[in-house]
Amino acid sequence: MVKYILRRFVAMIVTLWLIVTLTFFLMHLAPGSPFNQERNTSASVQENLMEHYQLNKPIAIQYVHYLNNILHFDFGESITLPGQTVNDLLSRGFPVSFELGMLALLVAVISGIILGVLAALKHNGIIDYIAMTIAVIGISVPNFIMATLLIQELAVNWAIFPTATWATPMHAVLPTVALATGPMAIIARLTRSSMLEVLTQDYIRTAKAKGLSPIKIIVKHALRNALLPVVTLLGTLTAGILTGSFVIEKIFAIPGMGKYFVDSINSRDYFVIMGTTVFYSGFLIIMLFLVDIAYGVLDPRIKLHKKEG
């Protein structure tokens, strides 16, 4: 187990390095620079700025320099927001994004599983049809449409929830719902099909033959096996929720990381682009790692310390 974690850790570092390298060079390949936007600045000013941010050095030197910096967790300083380091932005934006993301993930997982299980138990019944209709809508409607629809109906027409920003729990409801519906729908559909399959398994019949109650059979024998594929999906869903939150944060004017991420790309704020990308990647890699660990705990057939299954 320890050996496995160590090996995974090394792989994680390598993955992260690849992402840093790729993003770094892609970013510099893209046309434009942080300084030639709206304002017409003189050539000497431009040069001074380039000098200040060390952008006039050869790209290879910049790359080595940058790698060295992030090894010391120094992500540099924002170009468009002078005086603010990327670390400042991250420590301010991340807690908000994390809160929104985790809320959405929690809502998506819990409601998705409940919906899926109910649909499977009432297979081809009215509950099944309702649940799957919700799921299809959830999958087909993009979250930015969902978000604007929610704002229009629940915030403007009905005035139940505030339209935007991030302050009270009431403020969190709409963005969470908008962010959670897609993943929830995916989880619901997967849980349903997986549950339906598990319920026909021989060991469910064995459990029935033992005289266990239906609830015990579902919770102890069926659900755990049915959730294995769902757990596998969690890693990718987390990624989906994170990237989805960029859009949602923008729509609801939530001061999370997504806002800085989108803005930084528009303004070619190199250090913020790199910082947020590296941070998101790192976070995602860790999430995927946790999912793998969880998978091993849920399914004893998967041995983490051995190569063979």
């Binding site: 398994q201 064995t206 033959a209 096996n225 004893p300 057939r301």
Partner: protein
Amino acid sequence: MVETILEVNDLHVSFPTYGGTVKAVRGVNFTLKKGETLAIVGESGCGKTVTSESIMRLTTGDIVKGAILFNGHDLATLPEKELRKIRGSDISMIFQDPMTSLNPTITIGSQLIEGITQHTHKSKSEAKEVALEMLDLVGIANPSERLKQYPHQFSGGMRQRIMIAMSLVCNPSVLIADEPTTALDVTIQAQILELFKKIQKETGVSIILITHDLGVVAQVADRIAIMYAGKVVEIGNRQEIFYRPQHPYTRGLLRSVPRIDKEEEALIPIPGTPPDLFSPPKGCPFMARCDQAMEVCDHYYPLTSHINDHHKVDCWLQDERAKKVTFATKG
């Protein structure tokens, strides 16, 4: 007279499908006596498994008609909640495929213990003692270590032993074994059959053994019921069935089994296939494959003839009016 413990009367089980209703079991009658092993034999699709699963109402089909009498209850109509008290405690079941019948994500110990705590007031540690005892009884070495393991850490034969242990934890009076040795190789089969004999001797449990393997039947069965197209066509004790088979189908079955004591005797298969159970024939279902079929077989299902106290058969050849027919077979 030995006490009857389970009685199945005129059991009908059907499966509604898009293409029509499959009448899988069409009036099965048999009794199970205390401490005996009743084998239900027949080819694939004749309704053996449906019959056995119907006893515990585990079948996905509908019990259309009939009664399953056990301890003064009719299991065919007993409320689900009451039935759950009987499942796993008074009647328990072993299934065909030990590779898939155990839950892969739960330890053997937990799967054994949950059956015990479900039906008794034993604490977890008391239940664990029982589980250990049962694993020992079915011949699993090192039971306390094994309790913590998962099904994938056991071989097929071992898993079937665990299934047997699991079925015995509440000291049932009836044990239904649905093809318990079919998925195992021959040496393991012999061990499992020996185990059944040993358990029956020690606990006095009555066993219903579902199988298509007459070799297995010859080893362990006290009485044999031959099923064909959803009906029990012949039932009798082992001697009667093996040495004085009366139904042409039973004879056909026996002729198609290789015997080590008779040299150079060709195996004679039964030609044809069983009837379609979407629309079972009005008369005798075996008629189309029977070389002694008569006019009456096409129109009426045979009446049950009592050969003697231990032997019943559903065949028109036994009718007094058919006595003129001479048998071409060696018998």
